[in-house]
Every structure is written in C-alpha cells, then in structure tokens.
C-alpha cells in the first residue's frame, strides 16, 4: 500500500495548561487540496504549525510520505530529532504565513534564492533562474529587485508563496494567508493559490475565506475545540452539515 502524503494520528498539543489539540486524526494524499476551517482558537493554525515543527507536540505522530516527523521513539522514549534532521524534514513542506514574514533586508528575488542556495545548495545562477521562474509565475517577475517595503501586502504575500514553492515542497501549508491583507488585495493572492491547485499542488490551507474553500477544496476539515468535528467534500457538507456546530459556524461566517 503506498504511503499517504500526510498522515496524522492522535495529535495532542498543549500550551501550558491549555490543551489546544485533543487528538487529531487526519490523512490526505498527493494532489489533494484541503481547507481547514473553524472559529479562532479551534486549533487549526496550531495543527498547521505542528506539521512543520514550528510547534512541538506532546502526543501522536505525523508522517509525511511515511516518514515520521520531528520525533524518534525508541524503547518507549520519545525524543526530538536533531536540528539538522528537522530542518531537512521542514523542507518537505512549504509554508506561507499570515504576516508574509519576508526578510525585509533582502530583495524579492533574494528572499526566494536564500533557501535554494543555503538549503538546496544550488549554484547562485541556477537559484536565480529558479527564483525568477517562480516570481514570474506569481506575476512579480518585474518586481524581482524590489524590497518587501516597496511592495504591497498582496505582492509581498505572493513573493512569500514563491519563496516557499521554489523549494519544491511536497506539501504546501497556507496559514490564513489573506487575513492580514486589505480586502482589495485578497483576490490576487487567492488567484495564485487557485492556479497552483489547478496544477496539482498538494496543499493544506487554513482559511476564513469560505467561498474560496468551497471552490478549490477537495476536502474541507472543520475543527472545533481541538478536534476535527466534521470533514468531507465541501459541495456535500456545506449544504448539509451533519453537526450542529458546523451549521452554526457556516451561518455566522461570511459565506455570502
């Protein structure tokens, strides 16, 4: 049986006393586009951050293409993998953040080439070629030399997506990438994500854009209070939610 792209088993995560993830089980396969929805505090961003080890987690396992992420268990002892190994595993996924997090002292193209040169060890020229290809792809080839401070929020987010995708991740994680944007800039970013989805990129998005989730996702995961309360094809569960919580959530979100 081939391995799933992402396989999460009984994931538990606490911040101090508060348990944020209370046993999450979830799998997705290559090419899937999955949206995670839910009210704030439901644990969806934390789930994303656990997948690329930006958060440590206390219980459960995450596998990417069958490879256990972050921890080794030997003789009943669970131990964090060495930093180098975690860095390598992180590169299996790419992440785009709510706040873009572009490196402000580097031009757009240098933001993209940094990982290609330092992590992928590409020669400079090749890295620039790859970076240019992706900047063109997100429609910012002409702005390659611009610094983040000279770009609009939407443009910065597109550069950030190019920076992540240029690393050729097997799974893209999008963490509320449009939440910090002015409304008129949301579309250009969604357009980029949509086109990546059409190209068969596997992606997991945390989003508040219900209409977008409905349109692009193969699967929608509804998180509530640290667990997955409901999941399925949005065309089936959005019109007919089987839990009251999802029905309420859909009613209060700006779906119209």
């Amino acid at each position: 049986m081939p391995d799933h792209l992402l396989e999460i088993e009984d994931l538990h995560k606490s911040f101090g006393e508060t348990e944020v993830l209370k046993g999450v089980d979830f799998t997705m396969d290559k090419g899937d586009v999955v949206s995670v929805i839910g009210s704030s505090g439901s644990g969806k961003t934390t789930l994303l951050r656990c997948i690329n080890m930006l958060e440590e987690f206390e219980g459960g396992t995450i596998r990417i293409e069958g490879e256990v992420i972050g921890y080794t268990t030997a003789g009943g002892h669970r131990r964090r993998k060495p930093e180098k190994e975690i860095a390598r595993q992180r590169a299996l996924t790419g992440m785009a953040f709510q706040q873009f997090n572009l490196f402000p002292h580097m031009s757009a193209i240098d933001n993209v080439t940094l990982g290609l040169i330092k992590v992928k060890k590409l020669p400079k020229e090749e890295a620039r070629a790859v970076a240019m290809r992706w900047l063109d792809r997100v429609g910012l080839g002409e702005r390659a030399g611009h610094y983040p401070g000279q770009l609009s929020g939407g443009q910065q987010q597109r550069v950030a997506i190019a920076r992540a995708i240029a690393m050729n991740p097997h799974l893209m994680l999008f963490d509320e990438v449009t939440s910090a944007l002015d409304p008129e800039l949301v579309n250009e970013v969604l357009q980029v994500i949509r086109s990546l989805a059409e190209d068969g990129m596997s992606m997991l998005l945390v989003t508040h854009e219900m209409r977008f989730a409905h349109e692009v996702s193969d699967i929608v995961v509804f998180m509530n209070d640290g667990v997955i309360a409901e999941m399925g094809n949005p065309r089936e569960i959005f019109p007919n939610p089987s839990t009251r919580r999802l029905a309420e959530f859909l009613k209060t979100s700006s779906f119209n």
Binding site: N52, M53, L54, E83, K84, A87, R88, R90, A91, T93, G94, M95, F97, Q99, N101, L102, F103, P104, H105, L114, G115, K118, V119, H146, Y147, G149, Q150, A160, R163, A164, M167
Partner: protein, 220 residues
C-alpha cells in the same frame, strides 16, 4: 593676566598628538571588534531559554555596567599579574575595553534582537534553514540595521574612553597632551588642540556612521 596664546610649541609636537590620536583609534577599533563578538554572544545568551545561559550573561553585564572603567583598567593591568596573568599595557587596555564594551554592546544588541519579529525566524525554519543559518543570514544582519544609531554612539563613547589608557601610560592622545602640557607649559593651547582633535574625530566618526546607516537602509 599676561597670558598670550602661542601655539608654536604645540605645533612642534603636533605629530606626537596625531600619533596619539591614531593609537587611540586603533585601540578603540581593536576593542570594539572584540567587544562586538563578546556582545553578540552575550546578547544571544541574555535571550536564551536556558537559565544557565541567561544567568552568567546577566551577571557579566550588570557587573561591568556598574563598575567604573578606570577601576577595570587598573585592575587588569596591576592586579591580574598577581594571578599570573601578565599583559603588556596595550594588550591589557584593549582587553579591558573589549570586556567593558562587550557589556554595553550586549545591551544594544539585545534591544536590536528583540525588535525582530519572531515570524522571520519561523519563515527561515520553514524553508529548511538551520538556526545558525537563520542567525547569520537573517537575524544578525537585521539586528545590525536596528542598532546602527546606538551602535554609533557606543563606538564614539568607546573611542573617548581610550583617553583612559593614559592612566597606565599608553601614549595615546591624552597622555601626549599631558606630556606636552608639562614640558612646554603651553597649557591652554595644548588642551584646546587636544580637545578639538577629539571633537573632530567624534564628529567624523558620527558622519561615517551616518553614511553606513544610509548605505544599509533598506529601500522602501
């Protein structure tokens, strides 16, 4: 009062003053280079998660910041030989000034590090950079930009502190000025020239720092 200004004696010894100034700049330069390394390591230690790192770093900064530098200079030069650590005047002074500046630079750097959004480190992690690579390519370059204004004033004040090397007879500007003062009795002239040399150098240093700041400013 019957005192007429006469700069002849001072001009005759001007090359001594210039050599003293050059030595002072060299002392400051060497001490700051070393001090930046000490300060950077200390700043990261001050912000470390582990108490074992924070405690000694905090102690070092507190002790140095609350002790007069002259006491430190005399201690290193006169007292350390009792422990078998014998250093030449210049080495001893550079070491003291480096340790002294390290404590101040650590505070400056700490402030600069705190001003960096944590998301940038995460973005670095997310593309697979190691913590060390993140520090060298992202955190430190940004921190330096954040601290340039206060780094400038720290450098200037360290340059002025090189005058204290006179206390252990290192022939820098103040030492030479005092010597000329005693030898020629052109008291006023000597000190006017010496202080103007300090003021001019500080002004020049400030101008250089402003240039550096402009060069490093990220376009926006």
């Amino acid at each position: 009062m019957g005192y007429t200004l006469n700069f002849d004696a001072v001009w005759r010894s001007f090359d001594l003053l210039l050599a003293g100034l050059a030595l002072g700049l060299a002392l400051a330069f060497a001490a700051i280079l070393l001090g930046c390394v000490i300060g950077l390591v200390t700043a990261f230690a001050l912000l470390a998660k582990s108490r074992m790192a924070r405690m000694p770093a905090g102690l070092y900064v507190t002790i140095i910041r609350n002790t007069p530098i002259l006491v430190l200079i005399l201690f290193t030069y006169f007292a350390l030989p009792e422990l078998g650590i014998r250093l030449g005047k210049i080495e001893s002074f550079i070491l003291t000034l480096a340790i002294y500046s390290g404590a101040y630079l650590a505070e400056v750097f700490r402030g600069g590090l705190l001003a960096i959004p944590p998301g940038l480190r995460e973005a670095g992690l997310a593309i697979g950079l190691t913590e060390m690579q993140i520090r060298t390519s992202i955190i430190v370059p940004l921190m330096i930009r954040n601290v340039l204004p206060s780094l400038g004033s720290t450098i200037i004040s360290l340059f002025k502190d090189t005058s204290l090397a006179a206390a252990i007879a290192v022939p820098e500007l103040t030492f030479e000025a005092r010597k000329i003062n005693v030898e020629t009795f052109r008291v006023i002239e000597t000190w006017i020239v010496a202080s103007l040399m300090y003021v001019a150098t500080c002004t020049a240093l400030a101008a250089i720092m402003r240039k550096v700041e402009q060069r490093l400013t990220v376009p926006r």
